[in-house]
Amino acid sequence: MKQAIVELHNLSKIYQQGEVQVKAVDNVSLTIAKGDFAALCGPSGSGKTSILNLIGGLDTATSGQVWLEGIDLESMGNTQLAEVRKNRIGFVFQSYNLIPVMTAFENAAFVLDLQGIAKQEIQQRVMQTLAQVGLTGLEHRRPDEMSGGQQQRVAIARAIVTEPAIVLADEPTANVDSHTAESLLDLMQTLNQQQGITFLFSTHDQHVIDRARRIIQVQDGQVVSDEIRP
């Protein structure tokens, strides 16, 4: 049996929109195992991004628990959550979300810098990771000097360079063409297969769904199916 990286126990998230209460996540229990290449699928507003935000410690649950590598995120304060995000979680966002004043190298090195890792080691790890994502020679380019696909590769490099427990990718292929989407998925699949990096996607892109080895269907805030492909 694979080691559990993330465990959700009866997780609920209710948003107050004026007078109305919206149940974005409704009593979800789920386990993500080490090495998973899983996708939370469902239509817009189904609650998949909310689940991703709760796993990533970006948001707090109304009830229930989120365990990451055996640590209860719901019992943590903002500073502790920031530490967990910095050290144990990698994020890939829909709109690349690189820091515009930093080069590809600096974006990827930023979190390592926050972790207080020595400059020499940062240099070595970042260059190695940029090579893995196919960006050798582009390290000194700023985001506005790169294509969407290249920017998303930098975002992936930033997410994996810290060797996190899990990479949470929110619609990572939504802003790129299908050819680029395929190449990004090739990259993430390779990283998953060769290095055992755990990926959890939130998506309704068929390219991602086709590649995922585990499909978790979300509807109205609830997990309606959880299919593991051979």
């Binding site: 970006l58 948001d59 920031a82 910095k86 820091i99 004043v101 930093m102």
Partner: protein
């Protein structure tokens, strides 16, 4: 990447806004340096006019003489007092006064004759350098007097013209004599300007039959670093306890209080000016922060702590403030340097500017000092730091999920 480099790039990223904000700060800083230097110059000029042109540091009189300047209210042992004061390391000079009527042609005016010790007066005041027309007094010239500018105009006299004095001697007889105008003073005080007739002490002694004593002793510190209060204490210890010893701050309390509060006035003015600057900084930083909410959200998502976000926002503000303060200090110092050497000529606005009876130089000079430069610069940093509290905290406490999904 360290926080300063990141902040510098963020400042550079929106160059136009950063330039406008820094320019507003630099301009305010420069103006406040000029203002503070002008006030400093005014204070120094006023102090110089009071001390060097009028009162000296300390004056000694018989009690009540200042309220009722009676010819008999003399310090008979004034020569002995002067010797003791000089031996203690101070400069001092005797003065005697008399009142009467001065006439020339059809014009006449009440005047105050001021008998000065021509040997020692230059050691306590700079009156001898304030002759506008003609020459200063000379011991060998027994009829030449120097009169105030307005008195000269009132009597319609110019250099060399004859003056007739009528008054009273100390022994009760009529004092009268003729003099001629040897020199005309520029404005140093309203008393000298309107009614001052300056002559040698020996001439006046002879005129009013006052062989010894003095109405006033003027004392100056030879060590300018010596505290004025301490100097007063030392003089008190040297002389009789029945005499009145007052330093210039006690002699002219209104001006003294004005000078003491001038720095407070500068600070208040600075505060009001900088409140306007603070609103510019606040506005610029609010815009800068709110348009980057999403970016800060990403930073928070990848592990940047709220306190590090606050440091980043502060670093951006301080970079602009450093640039602004350097430009402001250079600009302000440059303008002040010019005004220190050339001044602002106010004579076209008013012929004679005086304050509480003390004439002020019609050319207003600035005084450049480290204090007049550093105070506005430090104030600028404090105001910028206060102005940026709100945007920094606002972005530091924003929930990461709200920031990440903010567009």
């Amino acid at each position: 990447m360290n926080i300063i480099t990141l902040a510098a790039r963020n400042v550079y990223r929106n160059g136009h806004r950063s330039v406008v904000t820094a320019a507003a700060m630099a301009f305010a800083c420069a103006m406040m340096i000029v203002f503070a230097s002008l006030i400093e110059g005014f204070v120094k000029g006023s102090e110089q006019n009071i001390v060097a042109m009028n009162s000296g540091d300390i004056q000694i009189h018989r009690p009540g003489y200042r309220d009722d300047p009676d010819i008999y209210s003399l310090m008979i042992d004034s020569a002995d007092l002067c010797n003791r004061i000089r031996q203690a390391g101070f400069a001092t000079s005797e003065r005697i006064f008399a009142f009467g009527l001065l006439a020339s042609g059809q014009s006449s005016s009440g005047v105050q004759l001021r008998g000065l010790d021509l040997d020692f007066e230059p050691t306590v005041t700079l009156l001898n350098r304030q002759v506008m027309l003609g020459d200063w007094l000379d011991k060998t010239d027994h009829h030449g007097v120097v009169i105030g500018k307005k008195l000269a105009r009132l009597l319609d006299v110019s250099l060399g013209d004859e003056l007739v004095f009528v008054g009273q001697t100390a022994d009760g007889y009529m004092a009268n004599d003729t003099f001629y105008v040897r020199g005309i003073m520029r404005t140093v005080s309203s008393a000298i300007d309107n009614a001052g007739v300056l002559m040698s002490k020996s001439m006046l002694r002879e005129l009013i039959a006052l062989p010894e004593g003095a109405h006033e002793l003027v004392v100056m510190r030879t060590d300018s670093m010596m505290n004025l209060e301490l100097a007063s204490q030392k003089i008190k210890a040297l002389i009789r306890s029945d005499l009145e010893i007052l330093n210039w701050r006690q002699l002219m309390p209104i001006i003294s209080r004005f000078i003491e509060t001038a720095h407070v006035q500068t600070l208040i003015m600075m505060l009001f000016t900088y409140i306007a600057v603070a609103s510019v900084v606040l506005n610029a930083m609010l815009m800068s922060v709110f348009e980057r909410i999403h970016e800060f959200g990403i930073m928070k998502a990848i592990g940047v702590r709220p306190w590090q976000i606050v440091r980043l926002v502060y670093a951006e503000t301080f970079i602009m403030t450093i640039v602004a303060s350097v430009i402001g200090a250079l600009l302000g110092s440059g303008i002040t340097w010019y005004l220190q050497n050339h001044g602002i000529d106010m004579s076209s606005l008013a012929e004679g500017i005086s304050f509480s009876g003390i004439a002020l130089d019609p050319v207003w000079y600035a005084s450049l000092s480290s204090e007049s430069v550093l105070t506005p610069v430090i104030f600028l940093f404090v105001i910028a730091a206060i102005a940026v509290i709100y945007p920094a905290i606002k972005v530091a406490v924003i929930h990461p999920v709200d920031a990440v999904h903010h567009h």
